[in-house]
């Protein structure tokens, strides 16, 4: 090969190699990093839970019949025998900077036996959810976000057998109280946050997954006792833990 042709050949090959390198490296950056770590813990209630009053559904015989064998009570404080506090939502209040891809799952908010199932539901901002009516009676779903706030109050009637209602919240709010105007005892909460969250079970255990390493402020919210915060550091490959304790008033 002549000298100028050789130089040209080297230049072209180098350019191709450089381009390949750049494209490969940039591909690696675009691909989402695999879930790294999480935070888990237990939420406890110190003291005796306040008495949860039984609910008399006699004005709606269809629902009263469902609970005849197992009467239901209010769910303002649901504590297990070992003091585990249920329905506490633990979320990241500071430190979450991840690309908030709205979760693709569409959870269901069901009305069954004249109760909301689940009693507390976590949602990401802009995550769609479905409201269903599994009862033989009409309900109306009435979420009540903060008046004058960015989330708007709505109120929809849903007769028995009606198709699910699709809804979404556009801004974080902890928490949106949901009620049914026809059945005054029905009560539930939707907790809309950015980033991952966990909800405690009957034992008070919760888990937050898909957290990259970093320093975070965790907030735990319970409908009667309000919020508590804690700072947690998640290190790469090491699961972190954070426990909370609420004092029964």
């Amino acid at each position: 090969m002549t000298k100028p042709n050789r130089a040209r050949a080297i230049a072209i090959v180098s350019a191709i190699l450089l381009l390949t390198l750049v494209v490969t490296l940039s591909q690696r950056r675009v691909k989402a990093a695999p879930p790294e770590g999480g935070i888990s813990g237990t939420i406890k209630l110190e003291g005796t839970a306040p008495h949860q009053r039984p609910i008399d559904m006699s004005k709606e015989p269809a629902c009263a019949a469902v609970h005849k064998a197992n009467p239901v009570t209010t769910e303002n404080v649901v504590a297990g025998q070992d003091g585990g506090l249920k329905n506490v939502v633990v979320y990241i209040s500071e430190g979450w900077s991840g690309a908030a891809e709205a979760a693709t799952a569409t959870p269901t908010w069901d009305q069954k036996g004249c109760q909301y199932i689940p009693h507390v539901m976590g949602l990401d901002v802009n995550q769609h959810f479905k409201v269903t009516n599994s009862d033989p009676t009409s309900h109306n779903i009435h979420p009540m976000p903060k008046p004058g706030g960015p989330n708007h109050e709505w109120n929809k009637s849903q007769p028995s057998g009606a198709p699910p209602i699709d809804a979404v919240w556009g801004t974080e709010e902890v928490a949106i109280h949901v009620k049914c105007n026809i059945h005054p005892w029905m009560s539930g909460y939707m907790v809309v946050v950015k980033g991952p969250y966990g909800i405690s079970d009957e034992k008070g255990a919760y888990k937050i997954e898909n957290l990259p390493p970093g320093n975070y402020t965790l907030t735990a919210w319970q409908e009667t006792y309000g919020t508590q915060t804690q700072k947690v550091t998640v290190a790469a490959g090491k699961p972190a833990s954070a426990n909370f304790s609420f004092k029964a008033k």
Binding site: R53, K59, K179, N181, I182, W185, S187
Partner: protein, 267 residues
């Protein structure tokens, strides 16, 4: 043609009276001490209005029959006194009928609305709110604790907005979703609305009273038969009005005592 109209009119009149006279639709069971007064008033009204209705329609049919084949040149006779006479006669007739019904019904009205509850009546409070009725019993101390509307929290089942921690009279108050009463005991029902207008209606008790927001109203009645009866809201109060009801349980005194004890344990 005119005679056919007259006959048809007479037949329709008689046919429509038959179901009423034959008592085909019977009113619901009367379980109240003043129920018979209301039922008698109803029968009196039906009888008076019925007699006037049949008389008027049959007289009309008779006139149609008699004068339907008028020939040209026949003169139409006028009612004595002309239009003025007719109006005066109608006024007197209808006026007498209405006044009579009102006069005969005064005892029923007074018994329910004007005579106060007797001193040994049992007070029960009822709060009507969109879209349920809830009841409150004063408990052993016989006193109702104060209501704090800002404390009303249906999610916590604090329907009446009681402050049990700070108001001693509220401590033994019993809040229920069903109204239990002992048989043959006069009940003094204290009524108020939480939000908009509602109405308390138990057809077997022959009792109906609107709730007016801002007013404390009361009724008294005595139930005479054991059973479970519907209390329905009969004043349009919103989208759940059709579903707004509660149940009245009339029980024997021992059953009522047991029921109240059970309700107290669920507070």
């Amino acid at each position: 043609m005119g005679k056919l109209v007259a006959v048809t009119l007479a037949l329709i009149t008689i046919a429509s009276a038959i179901p009423i006279v034959a008592h085909i639709w019977v009113p619901p069971a009367d379980i109240s001490t003043h129920g018979h007064l209301i039922d008698e008033q109803m029968s009196d009204t039906m009888a008076e209005a019925g007699v006037c209705f049949i008389a008027a329609q049959l007289i009309l049919a008779a006139f149609i029959w008699m004068f339907s084949n008028r020939k040209p040149g026949d003169k139409i006779k006028n009612f004595p006194g002309g239009a003025k006479g007719l109006v005066t006669a109608a006024f007197l007739l209808v006026g007498t009928e209405v006044l009579a019904l009102g006069f005969f019904g005064t005892k029923a009205w007074a018994d329910v609305f004007l005579i106060p509850a007797s001193a040994n009546s049992m007070p029960v409070q009822v709060q009507a709110g969109q879209f349920a009725f809830y009841f409150r019993y004063p408990g052993a101390d016989g006193k109702f604790g104060p209501i704090h509307p800002d404390k009303i929290n249906e999610a916590n089942q604090n329907i009446f907005g009681l402050d049990v921690d700070n108001d001693p009279d509220s401590k033994d108050d019993i809040v229920t979703a069903e109204m239990g009463v002992p048989m043959n005991k006069e009940i003094h029902l204290l009524m108020h609305a939480k939000d908009v207008g509602h109405s308390f209606y138990v057809r077997e008790l022959r009792i109906q009273q609107d709730f007016v927001p801002g007013l404390d109203l009361s009724l008294h009645f005595t139930a005479t038969k054991v059973g479970r009866y519907e209390i329905v809201c009969t004043q349009l109060c919103g989208l759940g009005h059709y579903n707004m009801k509660a149940y009245l349980n009339v029980m024997s005194q021992p059953d009522y005592d047991d029921w109240l004890k059970k309700q107290a344990s669920m507070q």
